[in-house]
Amino acid sequence: MADFGFSIAKTRSVKLSDTDMSKYRQLLELVPSFKRCISCGGCTASCSARQFTDFNIRKTHCYFRRGQYDKLEQELQKCMLCGKCTLVCPRGVNLRSLIINMRQILTNTNEIIG
């Protein structure tokens, strides 16, 4: 195709019929408070990691909620679990628990002992 200096943006719509929502459902079971999230972005605004890099916790959990799990685990590794997001969330979402559980579901690992 000829290069006109611009391209057509890929569609950003999510086809729910083709999306695997099982992970999201699993997450809700583990962190019921996530149901209350209103995507206000308070968590991102307070985030310690975000002061150094473009990590965006709200975006990350929004993607998760839509079943778009690509590269989320690498993103979540940037979190320092400091808990500021949890403390500012106006809806009482347990974000630290959310983050750990998202990572666990995404990598399919459990804690190990022994």
Binding site: Q51, N94, I112, I113
Partner: protein
Amino acid sequence: MENFSPFVLPFVLGSIALLVICLYKYVRWIRQFDRLQQKTLLKNIFSIKFLPAIGEMFRECLLHIRISKKNWRLGYMHRSIAFGWFLLIFVGAIESRIGTKGHFHYWVAIFYRYFHQVPPENHTAWVFTQLMDLLLLYVLSGVFLAFVKKIKSKLLGMNRATKHTLMDKAIRYSLWGIFPLRLLSESVSATLYHNGGFLTQTIGNLFSTNVASFLEMPFWTLYSIDLCVFFVLLPFTRYMHIFTEVFLIYFRKVGLREHTKMTGFTKFELSSCSRCGMCIDACPLYKDLGITDVQSVYLLRNLRNLEHHKDIIAAGKNCLICHRCAEECPVNIDLMNIRRISRDKGDLDIVNSYKYLQKVQSFNAIGRVAYFGGCMSHLTPGITESMQTIFKAVGQKYWFMDEDKSICCGRPLLQQGFNNQAAELRRKNTDLIVSSGAQMLITSCPICYTSFKKEYKLSIPVLHHTEYINMLIEKGMLKVKKSDLKVTYHDPCELGRGCGIYQEPRKVLEAVANLMKTKNEKENSLCCGMNLGNTVISLEQQTTIRNAALDNLTAPGPDVIATACPMCKKAFKHGTTANVKDIAEIVVENLEKNA
């Protein structure tokens, strides 16, 4: 053979089995020590650090002093069984040594009244006979209390006793059986040979000779079998703590500690838990929320048996890391670190996740103190502002390390079992501090304080701001005036129980206000519920725990509730109309103006 009867066989075999199994386990665990633990052990194995351990073994394994201090009834129960039984064996051994004049087999000491079929032949023998009866009575009184505790634990000052497994129940009944069986066996022998003391002879006189000679063998056999059952079950149940605690005390004294992974040392700690259940009543999750399956006693049991993987994970997660149980535990098991070990995240805990921090530059802070507010303090700016006011008031140059960008200290990660990730943050912060050349580190958050103090290896002093302010006041550098304010003080878990800082905050508060006592303070202070340790309980449950702590603080009717932790401050602020302030803020309000 003289001094032998077939009935002693179960006892002999059982005791050999006990010895073999315990040796096997202990050798295996010692081989599972990690490198550092092995090195420490080898280095100190013959050092004199071992001497004070003997005293502690005596005090804790036999006399149970720590339990007695917390609850004298429980203390008596444990002491009478442990120390009483020990004396029975010890005095019995001496008595039989003397009585048999050298023809000695070790089981004779246990079954002496059966083998020594004559009345006390002289004064010494008579005294021994009476003494042995007295000791037996002493043990029996403990067994009786244990029975009472089983029926109604409240009578012994416990709200909730441990819920035991089948094995633990089985061995408990075998333990309870040992002493009544001994009493009966010795009594029927006393009927026949008149060799009993004030207790056994009195009971023995109730039997007729016929009955006694009919019962003698069955009773002694039952006694022997019961001992055998107890010995064989012991290594697989909670009573393994009897011997293990002795080793644990020694290992601790020579400097062994828990690390981040499960090691042989952890195994010794796990098996030193007597499942006494004292950690249950202490736990806010039980006390305020009625959760009864996550307490340390159960976590340790599950970890030791390693069979309920799901339960371990579930119980491991649901804990505030509030240190209340660790404070209560009479064995001083490192419960908080074992909790962390149980949360080890394995593959999820990756190396090099914070590459983005590489570009963060240090600051030339030679001649200054470094101030680390902590992430949470950024949400309570009153604290960091007050600290800066104080630095300025005393003319102290400072470097506010995390003024606009904060790298976490790493403890929240550590608490959740992300050891590698936490270590990476520690390395970065250490780099920044060391290359800055700062002479002292002051922090406002008890979580960070614990972290810098215990987990970082910094060569400069680390102070919590309450320690720092206290030092300034004591040296006369910071002039404050005493106001009429009535305050109660909340000991944050990590600062108090975690680091043992109880006095400094109180001294500061005494200097600027009137400190009121509360019911639960110092070691016994209540958790604010917001602790980062827990990721399971809901906001509503956190609130319940917080309210219990608030009730304690508001009861004396203070003008202000003082804390020394940004988290506690935030937690309390939302729950009361009373004023909640950090100590630093109260100090700033009461600075001598013309100083």
